[in-house]
């Protein structure tokens, strides 16, 4: 059980080393010299991905607290993909907005390392530390444009509420530790399994506090209030990164803790998560309808998508568990690409992220408009895209687990959500273009990232089976 090999932390180490290398390179950079820092980061990410693939099926455990099981590795790969695409989009944005490249890429990589740690953590304390590593990096990334007062305000709100919620999360860990005598997930799990009949109220307090911490990170209602503000204020590319990466990592840890350790108490938490899921889907969708800022609209949309993921968690049958992983991947690629388009349309002076800025985009930028359309259709869950398969999977899991109410709400909200996604499409194709907007040129790297994401969205929609099988296998290793 206790193996001191470092195998399981290798992916994380690769990313961390890349981050350190970026920082070092920046520190010794001559004034005015341009360094391929993003490329350095990509090397680290690719190394991490290779090691993750090599670790597949080996269930490596390091120090007893980090476990590279297939579930963790699947999420790790998703996170690496997220980071890779983010860096590719960033190449244009960093130069355009004059962001400090060294700090920017290092923070992205540190955050990625934290996310991977969170997805593979086998100890509540490690989950907490990972959460903080990624959160602190993301707080700074949110406010990386120090000249933009809205970005700073977003960073501040995100930071303050994030710190607030992590105190609750930590308190939950303290109670768990006090009960089980350890923060190690396997030991806590053994304890919980033995106590499943006892009805000790402290267990429920611990459970509730942990739930708060996770609910904040995945922005479930009513812990979602920071999301629209932080997503709107942050640079679009950072929003894309945190709306996908943070959510995926938090969900991985959430699923790991609640579906394995607290599995004996599922009767206690399932009704609450049911409620959270329903409220999250409804609020995210309904409020999204009234938004006229695209980033803010997608922020509400990503809240709603968190709700769909929660449905998978509640359903928690074999299909539901695999559905969570598939949905995470589909959502990550889609949302990241959508924010990528938004990021690429901005200029240093103007973000160009209002709905009206998209009027007639089809005339000036047909390729970007078409790519954005695919993203939006996928977010709306229209076939044949990844989003459709993901939703289909989640809802059929909910129905087969007997959660008809959630399925009905989920289908209804996704029907409504198509309405606001389609508004953007209408803007792009069916509105005359105002003369003023001349979108900036798009670098080849960013375009390649976009095209790859879109290809992935369509491929996942048309040929989902290999990924589904993959997801089902990887989830089978822990639950």
């Amino acid at each position: 059980m206790f193996s001191s090999g470092i195998d399981a932390v290798v992916p994380m180490l690769c990313v961390t080393l890349a981050a350190l290398a970026v920082m070092g390179a920046e520190a010794f950079r001559a004034r005015g010299e341009q360094l391929p820092l993003g490329g350095l980061g990509v090397v680290g990410l690719v190394g991490a991905a290779i090691s993750a693939v090599l670790l597949w099926n080996r269930n490596a455990v390091s120090f007893g607290v980090v476990v590279a099981d297939n579930f963790g590795l699947f999420v790790t790969l998703v996170l690496l993909l997220v980071a890779l695409l983010t860096i590719m989009f960033s190449s244009t944005v960093v130069r355009r907005d004059g962001l400090p490249a060294g700090e920017y890429y290092a923070l992205v990589l540190f955050a990625t390392a934290g996310m991977i740690m969170m997805a593979t953590a086998n100890d509540l304390l490690v989950v907490f530390i990972a959460l903080e590593i990624l959160s602190i990096a993301v707080y700074v990334l949110t406010g990386i444009r120090r000249d933009d007062s809205r970005a700073i305000e977003a960073a501040f709100k995100y930071f303050l509420l994030g710190a607030f919620s992590s105190a609750f999360f930590l308190y939950g860990i303290a109670f768990t530790y006090g009960l089980a005598g350890s923060t190690r997930l396997d030991r806590v799990g053994t304890y919980m399994a033995a106590q499943s009949m006892s009805g000790n109220p402290l267990i429920l307090v611990a459970l509730g506090l942990l739930l708060v911490g996770f609910a904040f990170k995945i922005s479930a209602v009513p812990f979602h209030m920071w999301t629209p503000d932080a997503y709107e204020g942050a640079p679009a590319v950072v929003t894309g990164f945190m709306s996908t990466g943070v959510k995926a990592a938090a969900f991985a840890a959430f699923a790991r803790v609640f579906l394995s350790v607290f599995e004996p108490f599922s009767g206690e938490w399932a009704p609450l998560v049911w409620l959270l899921a329903a409220a999250t889907m409804i609020l995210g969708t309904v409020v999204g309808v009234a938004q006229s800022n695209l980033k803010r609209m997608l922020a509400y949309s990503s809240i709603a998508h968190g709700g769909y993921l929660l449905v998978g968690l509640v359903a928690a049958n074999q299909v539901g568990k695999a559905a969570i992983l598939f949905y995470l991947l589909a959502y990550a690629v889609t949302n990241l690409a959508a924010f990528g388009v938004i990021a690429l349309l901005g200029t240093r002076e103007a973000a160009n992220d209002e709905l009206r800025d998209y009027a007639g985009l089809w005339h000036t930028r047909p390729a970007l408009a078409a790519l954005m359309t695919v993203c939006l259709l996928s977010l709306g869950g229209l076939p044949p895209t990844a989003g459709f398969i993901g939703k289909w999977y989640i809802f059929s899991a909910a129905v087969s687990a007997g959660y008809y109410g959630l399925a009905v709400i989920g289908v209804l909200t996704s029907v409504v959500s198509v309405f606001f996604y389609l508004r953007v499409v209408v803007m792009m194709y069916m509105t005359d273009r105002p003369a003023a907007i001349a979108p900036p040129p798009v670098s080849a790297v960013a375009m390649a990232a976009l095209v790859a994401s879109i290809a992935a969205i369509i491929a996942l929609g048309i040929l989902p089976t290999p990924v589904l099988d993959f997801a089902a296998q990887s989830i089978a290793t822990i639950f």
């Binding site: 530390i129 406010g143 007062s149 930071f159 607030f164 105190a167 930590l170 308190y171 006090g178 923060t183």
Partner: protein, 100 residues
Amino acid sequence: MIPLGHYLIVSAMLFAIGTAGVFLRRNLITILLSIEIMLNAVNLSFVAFGRQFGSVDGQIIVFFVMTVAAAEAAVGLAIVIALFRHRESLNPDAFTSLKW
């Protein structure tokens, strides 16, 4: 010897004070300090539990938490300073350009 329950009650009270401070106080620095109080309340629980089990785990965890809290405070203060430069205010209610 002081029983475990007493520590936990003090810890819970501290935590409640911190929580109340976060959304009742109107000064950013005080709010940051309130969050620190919350974290330290949890630390107290960890130490108390650790002593109960007779293991050092609880105290080691506290070191981790303190490190994390320090990092968080550093970033938090930096953000607050940047915000103050833009808005010349420390009242959290003054920062509402992002809403709805």
